[in-house]
Amino acid sequence: MAAFILRRLGALGVILFGSSFILYNLAAISADPLEELRLSLDPSRDAQITALTRELQLDVPPPLRYFLWLRGVFGIFVGQPNFGTGRDGAAVIESLSIAIPVTLRLVLAATILAAILGIMIGIVTALRQYSRFDYSMTFVAFLLFSLPIFWVAVLLKEYLAISFNNFLRDPIIPITWIIGIGLVSGLFWASIIGRNRKLFWTTYAVAFILSSGLVTFFGVTGWLLNPSLGPIVILGLSIGLAFGVTQLSVGLINKAALRASLTMAGLSIVAFYPANWVFDNYPGPLGIFLMICGLITTAVFVGLAFSKIDRVPIVRTSIITAVLSGGLVLVDKFMQTWKPYMETEAINRRPVPTVGERNDLLNSTDFWISSLDIVTHLFLPTLALTLIGFAGYIRFARGTLLEVLNQDYIRTARAKGLTERTVIMRHAFRNTMIPMTTILVADFAGVVGGAFITETVFAWSGMGTLALQGIRSQDLNLLMGVFFVTATMAVLANFVADLLYSVLDPRIRAGSGE
C-alpha cells in the first residue's frame, strides 16, 4: 500500500510538472506584458521597459523562465513558497491566500448541496424507472446540462434577488401564486409517491392543501419579514425527522431505535432555550462546535441506553436525528437574525445581494448578523452552481443504482425475504455510494474550474477572478499561481478518490493492475 501511494504521488508530481510547463509556455507565448508600454508615449518608456524586463525576467526565454518560476514553487518543501509577484506589486501568494477561502466556500457549499439533492432525486428516479417522474427528471437533467451558467446567473439575479427584494417591501403573495405553488408541489410529490391512481390523487390533494396553506400562512402573517420556527414547530419537525430517519436507517419495526431517536427529538425542544441562551451570550463558532459535540455525546448515550443488542445502528440513528434536529435550532437562530439583519442600514430591507461575497458596509460586530450576511451572499452563486452541477448527479446516481439493482446479491437479498427497505437501503444504496463517493471527490476539483464564470457574474473576488485578471493584465505569475493551486487540488482529489475506492470496494486492490 505504501509503495502504491508513493508511486501514485510521484506520478502526480510528474503530471503537475508537465501541465504547468505546458500552460506556462502557452501563456508566455500568448501574453506580452510589455505591449502596453511599447505603445505608450511616456518619455521614460525605455527605462520602464528595461525595469519591467528585469523584474519579470523577460529576457529569459519562456521554457527556461519556467524553471525560475518552478524554483520558487519548490520553496513549498522548505516552507517558503514563492509564486513571484503580480503586476500590481503584491506577492501572488498573498492574493491567493485571500482568494482561496472565498472560492472554497462557494464550491464546497455548491458541491455538497448538488450531491445531496442529485443523489436523492437520482435514487427516486431509479426506483421509479420509466415512470412519468423519471422521464420529467431526465428532461430536467438534460435541460440543466444545456444551460449556460452565466445565463442562469443573470436570471437568478433578476428574479431571486431584485424582484424578490422588491416583493419583500410589501410581501403580499397573490392568489395565483398560492395555487400555482400548490399545483406544482402536488404534482411533484404525487409523481414520487403515487404508485396507483388512488394514492396519486390522495397525495396530490394532501400536498396541494399543505403547500398552498403554508404559502398563504407565510403571506398572511408576514413570516417572510420576520421568520422563525419556534419551539413547537421544531418539536413537530424533529418528531417527523425521528420517524423518517429511523424508517430509512433501521426500519420502524426496530422499537429501540425509534424510542432513542424520538427521545433525541424531544431533547431538542428541551435544549431549545439553553441553546438560544448560548447563541446570544457566547456567539461564535466555538460555542456551536461545543454544542454539536455535546449533542452527539448525548445521542450516543441515549442510543446506548435504549438498546441491548445490535447497538451500532441504533446509536447511529439517534446521532443522525440529533444532528438534524439540532440543525433546526440553528436554522431557527438564523431566522431570528433575519429581521435585525434586514433592518441594518447597509442592508436597508434588500436582503438578497447580487454581487460580492460579503457586504463591506455592514460593520456589524454581531456574529449572527455577519454570518447571515455571508449566507445571503452565498445564496445565489451557490444556487447557480448547484443547478448546473446536480444534473450530473441525478444521471449518475440513477445509472449506478439501476446497475446495482440488477446484481445477483440484490436478488438473493429479496429471495431470502428481506424487506424492500433493507434491500434498497442496506444492499443497494451502500453499493451505489462507492462510485458516488469517488465521483464526488473528483468533481469537487472540477467545480473549482467551473466556478470561474460564476465568480465573474457575481463579482466574487475568488480564484476565478484572479485568473481572469491574470490573463487580462498579462500577469503570468498570477495566472500560474491560480493554476498551480487548482491543478494541485484536482490531482490530489483524484488521488484521494482512487484511494477511497480501493478502501470502500474490497474487490479493488490498491497497486494491482495498472
Binding site: 444545456s146 449556460p148 452565466f150 445565463w151 474550474g449 467551473g450 490573463i471
Partner: protein
C-alpha cells in the same frame, strides 16, 4: 457447446418471450439499419434532430451571404445585422423602445394575431434588428461549435487509436501528454488563447480551441481500441494477413464508431457552451463580430428594462445545446448493443398469449 442444464433451459424459455420480440425486429437488418431504427424510436432525439435542423436552416438562410467578397446571395430576412434602423417607439411596455413585434397569440384570444412584424425580436440599443443579430450570432456559434467539434474529433480519434492500437511506448507518451492537458481546465486554456487570438476571427479561435478539446475523446477511443484489438475477429484478420492499416480502418474503427459518435455529440454541446462562456467573459468572439454569448454579455445589464435582448440569444443557446444532448442520448441508445427497448405491457401480453396458444396447439 456445453449441454444446458434444465434450469438454464427453463430460464431461457421464460425470457424467450421478450427476446423473440427483440430478435424478430432486427432479423435480416444491417447494423446501420438497426441503429437507424433504434434512433428513430427515441422520440426526444427525433424531435431534437428536427429542432436543430430547423435552427440551422433558419440561421443560415435568413441573412445575406457574401461569396468571395463580391457575389451577394440574398437572404430572406429584410434587414441585415449591420443596418442601423430607426428605433421603433410606440406601443412598447414601460416606455422602452425597440421592443419585439413578434406575436404568437391569435386575435380571438385577445392578442395581436400570429405574425412577425417588422422586428420580431426587437431592436438593440442603437437600432439594429435583433432578429438579424441573433441569426448572425447563431451562425457564428454553430460554426464555432462545428469547427471545434471536427478538429477535436479528428485529433481525438487519431491519437486515441494510435495509442490504443500500438500500445507500448507511443501509448505511454501520448497518454502522459493527455494527462497533462486534462489537468488544465479548458476555460483557462480557452481564456489564454482567446485573449490573444480572439481578434483574429471566430474560425481561427475555434480552430485553436479544437486543438485543446480532444483529450477526453482520445482516452475513450484508446480504451475502446485496447479492448477491440484483443478480440477474435482482429486475430482472424491478422492471421489472414491484413495490414495494420486495414485492421484499424476496416475492423476496429467501424466497431468503435458508436462510442466515437456519441462522445463527439457530447463534445459538440460542450463546445457551444464553451464558446458562449468565453465570449461572455470577453475572451472569445470579439466585437464587431457577433456570437450568442457575446450578445448576452453585451445586454445583461439591460435585462430589467429590455429583457428580450437577453432572452432570445439564451433561448437559442439552450435549444441548440439541448437538441445536441438529446441527439447524443438517442445515438447512445441506438448504438448500445446491450440497450434493450422497454417492451410495452401490451406487446408482452400479446407474446404471452401467442405462446399460450402455441402451447395449447402442441
Amino acid at each position: 457447446m456445453a449441454r444446458k442444464s434444465k434450469a438454464d433451459v427453463e430460464s431461457t424459455e421464460v425470457l424467450s418471450g421478450e427476446n423473440a420480440i427483440q430478435n424478430k425486429e432486427i432479423e435480416g437488418l444491417s447494423q446501420g439499419q438497426i441503429v437507424r431504427k433504434r434512433f428513430f424510436r427515441h422520440r426526444a432525439a427525433v424531435i431534437s434532430l428536427g429542432t436543430l435542423t430547423s435552427i440551422v436552416i433558419l440561421a443560415f438562410t435568413a441573412l445575406d451571404w457574401k461569396l468571395f467578397g463580391a457575389i451577394r446571395v440574398p437572404g430572406w430576412w429584410r434587414w441585415t445585422h449591420e443596418e442601423l434602423l430607426e428605433l421603433r417607439y410606440g406601443d412598447c411596455p414601460g416606455g422602452t423602445v425597440g421592443c419585439p413585434t413578434i406575436s404568437l397569440l391569435p386575435k380571438f384570444l385577445g392578442g395581436a394575431g400570429i405574425g412577425l412584424g417588422t422586428h420580431p425580436f426587437g431592436q438593440d440599443d442603437i437600432g439594429r434588428d435583433y432578429f438579424a443579430l441573433v441569426m448572425k450570432g447563431t451562425q457564428r456559434s454553430l460554426s464555432v461549435m462545428v469547427i471545434i467539434g471536427s478538429v477535436a474529433a479528428t485529433l481525438g480519434v487519431v491519437i486515441g487509436s494510435i495509442a490504443g492500437f500500438y500500445r507500448g511506448r507511443i501509448d505511454a507518451i501520448l497518454m502522459r501528454f493527455v494527462d497533462f492537458m486534462i489537468t488544465i481546465p479548458v476555460i483557462i486554456i480557452g481564456s489564454v488563447v482567446g485573449y490573444r487570438y480572439g481578434n483574429l476571427g471566430a474560425a481561427f479561435l475555434a480552430l485553436l480551441l479544437g486543438l485543446f478539446a480532444w483529450t477526453g475523446l482520445s482516452r475513450l477511443v484508446r480504451a475502446e481500441f485496447l479492448t477491440l484489438r484483443e478480440r477474435e475477429f482482429v486475430d482472424a484478420a491478422r492471421v489472414a494477413g491484413a495490414t495494420n492499416r486495414r485492421i484499424i480502418f476496416k475492423h476496429i474503427l467501424p466497431n468503435a464508431i458508436g462510442v466515437i459518435i456519441v462522445s463527439v455529440t457530447l463534445l459538440l454541446s460542450g463546445a457551444i457552451l464553451l464558446e458562449t462562456a468565453l465570449s461572455f467573459i470577453g475572451f472569445g468572439v470579439v466585437p464587431p463580430d457577433v456570437s450568442l454569448g457575446l450578445l448576452i454579455s453585451q445586454y445583461q445589464d439591460s435585462f430589467t428594462t429590455r429583457p428580450w435582448l437577453f432572452w432570445y440569444p439564451g433561448l437559442f443557446i439552450i435549444s441548440i445545446a439541448l437538441s445536441v444532448n438529446f441527439i447524443g442520448d438517442g445515438l447512445r441508445d441506438a448504438f448500445d448493443p446491450r440497450q434493450r427497448r422497454r417492451i410495452s405491457k401490451k406487446e408482452r401480453q400479446d407474446s404471452a398469449t401467442a405462446r399460450k396458444l402455441a402451447q395449447a396447439n402442441d
